[in-house]
Each structure stands twice: as C-alpha cells, then as structure tokens.
Amino acid sequence: MSKAGLKIIVCIKQVPAVQDIKIDPITHTLIRESMPSMLNPWDEIGVEEGIRLREKYGGEVTVITMGPMQAKEAILRCLAMGADRGIIISDKALAGSDTIATAYALYMQIKKMEYDLIICGKISTDSETGHIGPHLAELLNIPQICYVKKVDLDIEKRRIIAHKEADGGIEIVEAPLPALMTTTIGLNEPRLPTLKGIISSKRKEVKVVTAKDLGGSLSNYGLRGSPTFVDEVFEPPSRKPEMIFQGDPKEAVEKIVQVLLNKKLISSRS
C-alpha cells in the first residue's frame, strides 16, 4: 500500500436503461446510440463499496470504463457519488470487443497503474456473461473473490476478508492484496449523488485513453481481438400471458384446471 492510502480501481460499464433493446441485424451487436443508458447496477454497488473503503481507510477511488465517449456520463455519475477520478478507454479500434478483448484492454490500462483492490460487478445487465472480473484477475495474476456480499480489509496484514455467495451458503475467504473482487446485490445500498456531488463531478478529471495509449498490438483489440463469433442474436419474443383468469379464486382455479385438461397438459384421475 502506498503512503497516499488505498488505491482502489472500480471497473464500470454503461448499460441501456430500457428493456426494449435493439439489435443490429447485420453486425449482431447492440444498437447503442440514442438509447438512454445508466450505470450497471452492480457497478454502482462497486463504486459505493470503493467509496466506503476509502472513507474508512483513506485513499483514492478511480473508475475505469471502456466504451464509446457517451459512457463518460456513467463515469460522471460515479464521480458525483464521490469517486475521485475517471478514465475512459475509448477508440474506434476497440469497437466490437468481446469479453476477451474487453478484459485485455482493461488489463493493459490497469497494469500501468498502482492498485490495492480492483472491484468489478458480478455481471452487467446487457451481456450478463460475468467474464470480465475473473478474466482481468487472471491477466493481472492476482487473487479473485467473486460474488462478494460483505467485505473488509486488514490494512496491517494487507489482506482482504470477504463473505462470498456460494452454492447453499456463504463462504468467508481471505486473500492477500492486491486482489480483485466482484460485487453482488446486497453488498450495500448505493448512495444517491447530492447536488454538490453532481456539481463537483463536472470539475473532476476524466482521462481519455486511446488504443494507441494502451500500447500492444492492435490485433488484440476490438473485433479483431475478439474470437467470439456471434452466430445469431435475436430479440426474444415479448412474452404475453395467453390467458388471464379473473374473478373468484376458486372459480378461476377450476377454469385453469379445465383449460389444462383440454390442452391435455394434465389428466384427470378421479
């Protein structure tokens, strides 16, 4: 840990704020422009946790995103909550990145920085792979703890102690810093930015990083660096209830049973 206190990096992503997501029929990627967007909810939790740890132990919270320049709004939202500075990795050469290329770009940036703790979200609401956090930890060769519900640091021993969700219960895991953790719902209740926070976010530093700044071979970035091949993307047919049974519950149940019988989905064995 540097003298200036904890260095926390939170990876964040801007995601569409609406359900009716449109997909480009040719490139099979999301049509992102002109859609209202928001901060991925798991990342909002990540930023909150980063700020809380800074408030407890001192230090600095940096938020990083890779995305179109529009994603700067998501950075500003984090700065308004109280993060100290932001970095946006934005470049045409990065368009079309899959999870591998995204994690790689984040890695190339983060490896140049000082950090004690990296926080990612469990998943993002639009692609929902949950790959980025673990992949990034592997690239950086640091321990990872996923789906964290509760976390504290032991500053003396430079360790992270986390309660993580596991099948059928909670596991308590310890690891040395620097480490990477991913958040889950319930870790905290993110604060709402205040008016002063919003005003000051406009004056905080947001650094723009290009593919060239990242360094390395361009073939590792963007569509070229993305081995994932999307065979087909389709908009799920919006599910409408076929029938709604109203009225007296008992009668309604009888009606449902009758319909199921008629459809031969159940049989009557009297």
Partner: protein, 92 residues
C-alpha cells in the same frame, strides 16, 4: 394501427422508473369528491378508483402537472422523480 389503448401508448415511452412514488396524494377528500377529475384528466391514466380507494400507478406518469391543477381540493402534490428518473422523451 391508427389508435391504441393508453397502455399501448405508454409502452412506447422510455422511463427510468424510480422505486418510490413521486405523486403525493392526501386522500382525505377523495371518497366525497364527486367527479374525481384526476382520474379522467390525467393523460396517462395514472389514477383509478378501486374498492373505495384511489390507486396511483405512478410508473407511467409523464410529470405534466395536470392532476395537481384539476383536483378541486388541491390534495395532489407532484414532486419530480430524483436523478433523472421518470419519463425520458427521445423525441419530445
């Protein structure tokens, strides 16, 4: 399709729905309010009357302010959903 139901109209819109209701109604007068103009003047069908109670489905509200003005007893107070929540017009 030339005309559509109000629910279909609202489903065209983009909302960032906030968890809390931003329309504050003091329902003390509602039961004796004869015409209940909030119900039929609201352009988004936010209000309805069920089982002697005024139901407020605030999710589709476009924050226009009509209900506040038409309530004869001035019992409605429209606040705005915080942090850019609520209606987000993409055309306007």
């Amino acid at each position: 399709m030339i005309t559509m139901s109000i629910d279909e109209k609202l489903s065209l819109n983009t909302y960032k729905v906030y968890k809390e209701n931003h329309i504050i109604v003091d329902k003390e007068k509602c039961i004796t309010c004869i015409d209940k103009p909030c119900i039929y003047c609201c352009p988004t069908n936010t209000y309805s009357w069920e089982n002697d109670d005024l139901i407020i489905s605030f999710e589709g509200c476009v924050e226009c302010g009509t209900c506040e003005i038409v309530c004869p007893y001035k019992k409605i107070r429209l606040t705005y959903p915080p942090l850019g929540h609520g209606i987000i017009y993409r055309y306007g």
